[in-house]
């Protein structure tokens, strides 16, 4: 009986922990993302390969931002259940959304820090840096890398 309590209790505890800690982390992350996106919204960021012809480019550099977000126990449990019957893996959507937006933010922050005015030719890459499937251990996490060409524009006199 104690065995059964233990076997049921540990996953339930981990589920609760994952749910509460994961929700808190996610909410505070989204708060920070929204504030910073608002602050940086004026910087043109585009995936165009060339700057618009009328821009007078003074200097360029590569800027990159990368974010690694971990899954929590609750999200993984939801995704596993989802894996039985198919459909949108909603619990992982916010994970990728956060990673993508955080990576872009970091890239833009790097550009701002260097005194650049815009980022063009932005590319996004994503990698899962650990798979929980290989040996049932490990933490599933996703990395999103955003990189682009930062431009410094000549101020028109």
């Amino acid at each position: 009986m104690a065995d059964a309590v233990f076997q049921l209790g540990v996953p339930l505890f981990l589920l609760a922990l994952g749910y509460f800690a994961g929700s808190m982390a996610e909410q505070s992350h989204y708060k920070s993302i929204r504030v910073r996106e608002l602050r940086l919204r004026r910087m043109p960021t585009t995936n165009l390969r060339r700057p618009p012809p009328h821009w007078r480019v003074e200097s360029i550099t590569l800027v990159a931002g990368s974010a690694v977000i971990s899954v929590d126990y609750f999200k993984r449990f939801l995704a596993q259940l989802r894996g039985f019957i198919g459909g949108r893996v909603r619990s992982y959507e916010s994970l990728l959304d956060r990673a993508r937006r955080e990576a872009v933010l970091r890239m833009k922050e790097e550009a701002v820090q260097g005194g650049f005015d815009a980022v063009i030719n932005v590319r996004l890459e994503s990698t899962n840096i650990a798979s929980p499937l290989r040996n049932d251990r490990g933490t599933a996490g996703v990395e999103v890398l955003a990189f682009g060409t930062a431009l410094k524009l000549a101020r028109s006199a």
């Binding site: 749910y19 939801l78 909603r90």
Partner: protein, 261 residues
């Protein structure tokens, strides 16, 4: 420009959890119920002769005195389709098991602790009751089913949760089988000795049947978990009163060859 945020679903994660758990549980229960019925059908359909051919292996030390006792008891159950086999296994717990194929096992500790032949006869009768109910075969089928279900679920978390739930479900189910086996055993004892004195002695010795049975359960995978021994004793007394079995009578001593190994 406010970001749209349309890459994330608005559904609350707990709502999704509830939907997924309930939906999958319903589907799983449906499949399990169908498989359960299939096992039940197979148990009914499979002739005892085939079962005995499949589970032919005999285990345990043989004892002519014990076999003679079993034979006397089995004579009150003439319609048995099984050629019964009986063995003694050296285990530290006092218990007896019914295996598929009409094979009975008695632990050496049970023999050492037995105070009378009547007590032993009830234990054997109880296991014979499992054989009549075809419980070992059914248990094997169900065990197989549970293992398959767990294998299908696969994930470590899922398996441990489902394992505990399955164990609880199996426990509550087998109490029915245990009670039926008790009733059968008591009727055999009454038919053999003319009274049921001493029949519940073995049950009275068990401090808490749950603890004892869980140890045994690990030894023999499909062994049913027994209900609380106090409840069983009460049930036996009620049955004896109802069927008019005399509860007083002279106890038959154990045959000399059965005292210890």
């Amino acid at each position: 420009m406010e970001p749209l945020e349309n890459n994330v679903s608005l559904e609350h994660p707990l709502a999704e959890l509830a939907t997924l758990v309930l939906g999958i549980a319903l589907i799983g229960l449906g499949i399990l119920a169908a498989a359960w019925l299939a096992v039940e059908g197979a148990v009914r359909f499979l002739p005892a002769s085939v079962e005995q051919r499949v589970f032919a292996g005999a285990t345990g030390r043989r004892s002519p005195e014990l076999e003679a006792l079993l034979e006397r008891l089995a004579r009150h159950w003439p319609e048995s389709a099984y050629a019964l086999k009986l063995g003694i296994v050296p285990l530290d717990i006092a218990n007896a098991f019914a295996l598929p194929g009409g094979q009975l096992l008695v632990t050496s500790t049970l023999l050492e602790q037995a105070g009378s032949e009547n007590e032993l006869a009830f234990v054997l009768g109880h296991e014979l009751g499992h054989v009549t109910g075809r419980d070992p075969l059914r248990g094997l089928g169900r065990g197989l089913l549970v293992s398959l279900a767990l294998a299908a679920i696969g994930g470590a978390e899922g398996a441990s949760v489902a394992g505990s739930v399955a164990a609880l479900g199996e426990r509550s189910f087998s109490r029915e089988q245990e009670s039926a086996a008790d009733r059968f055993g008591l009727a055999l004892v009454a038919a053999e000795y003319g009274h049921v004195a001493g029949a519940s002695d073995f049950l009275r010795k068990l401090p808490d049947a749950d603890g004892e049975a869980s140890v045994a359960g690990r030894v023999v995978g499909w062994l049913a978990t027994h209900p609380r021994s106090a409840d069983r004793v009460a049930e036996l007394e009620a049955l004896a009163a109802q069927r008019g079995f005399p509860t007083q009578g002279a106890l038959t001593p154990l045959p000399p060859g059965l005292r210890g190994p």
